[in-house]
Amino acid sequence: MTTHPLTVALDSGDTAWLLVSAALVLLMAPGLALFYGGMVRAKSVLNMMMMTVGALGVVIVAWTLVGYSLAFGDDVGGGLIGNPVQYLGLESLVRPDADGTFGIPTILFAVFQGLFCVITGALISGAIADRAKFGAWLVFVTVWTLVVYAPVAHWVFDVSSGSHVGGWLVNRVGLVDFAGGTAVEICSGASALAVALVVGRRVGFGKEPMRPHNLTLVMIGAGLLWFGWFGFNAGSALASGHKAAVVFAATLLAGAAGILGWLGVERVRDGHATSLGAASGAVAGLVAITPSCGSVTPVGALLMGVVAGAVCAWAVGLKYRFGYDDSLDVVGVHLVGGLVGTLGIGLIASAAAPTAVAGLFYGGGLGQLGRQTLGVFGRPRLRVHRLGRARARR
């Protein structure tokens, strides 16, 4: 690792945008804490918020020590995972000569990715609201970081180096996933489903009313989440330019359309729109645009948002039908919304957008839809399988 001329290539504008983006993703943590905290019953709000804050603590430490290496180190095990000691403690990234791969400092990329892991992990806590022990949660989320998230991130996000087999979902399968529809949204949603099944239902689920106790908090939280999501999505461009701008616009449009989609379903089904619905709709739209923000036109983003809002508004009712207690609808919003976004790319991606891929409705045929489906349904099967075993042991 010698000093090489590439280090002069750091772009101050790109770096500024990634500094901001990383800060924005950090802000998603309190945003999520409030979003979730307002949705639980009054007696659980502090416990709920602590789960996000605690996750922030342990995940960042785990990520710094070995997580980043596992996700972005050189292939080990044929691309299953990265070399866990390659960037041990991120020590080697402190010197300027570690930079150069992108126009941004590598250490900044490392913490930006670490914050993705924090948010993904913290999302899961919504599924077990009201009934998780804080200590057990910290252990779970630490293990999950290293055993579930890091490998998935290696497959999806580690695309920088062509020689890495890691990143195979993108490099080989040809999955398009801009900011983490699979690694973040589907992964957190599927993990949440697994955990909700393992942990079991809340006492009184389906009988006692468990009303959200403070919708104002939910609104503040959703506002901060959306704000942070610009960093999440447009920051994933890793540069400040046209691509980031298109992604930014898509993120705005899908969130706005998501509001309308969810409220529309509420209007028709329940007779009136609710503020929880508005907040949820924005989040559903944002979830769906996360993988697709680089692949759709503005009208595509509106479509993505309105469909995700409507579908998720319907999907949150599934838990009553199937009887799993996903307290805050992580499955209904993140798993379902992530699927809408990831598969939707196969339908409405436009070749004019930065990822330059065309979906079925934009003259691209069935090819990309197939690749998206393959990318999505390879992994969950594995996980559900494992889960089946976990339940059997109980």
Partner: protein
């Protein structure tokens, strides 16, 4: 001496207070309560799940009164609190044996 307890609609208590003032009754104690009765509660829907909220917000007024004032007090209270719609509330009267004003230690009728 009597204790008059009135459970009325939330936005009517100020009317009742003013009506009592015209009688010269200034002292009263107010608290927020919820009631259940003939008046139906409402249904709230969150993420498609319905929650029945059976309780209706009400305000409780408590007035310790001289025996002689009782009829007047009941009369103005009923008049002021009435809207004619279900849920207007109830008034009940219980006997009081002793009253003390904490500040002066005055007793019974002097303390009201």
């Amino acid at each position: 001496m009597k204790l008059v307890t009135a459970v009325v609609k939330p936005h009517m208590w100020e009317e009742v207070r003013q009506a009592l003032e015209t009688l010269g009754v200034k002292g009263l104690t107010v608290s927020e309560v919820s009631g259940s009765g003939r008046q139906k509660g409402h249904t709230e829907v969150y993420r498609g799940a319905e929650y029945d909220v059976s309780l209706v917000p009400k305000v409780r007024l408590e007035v310790v009164a001289h025996d002689d004032d009782l009829e007047d007090i009941l009369r103005v209270m009923v008049t002021a609190a009435r809207t004619g719609r279900i849920g207007d509330g109830k008034i009940w009267v219980t006997p009081v044996e002793r009253v003390i004003r904490v500040r002066t230690g005055e007793l019974d009728d002097d303390a009201i």
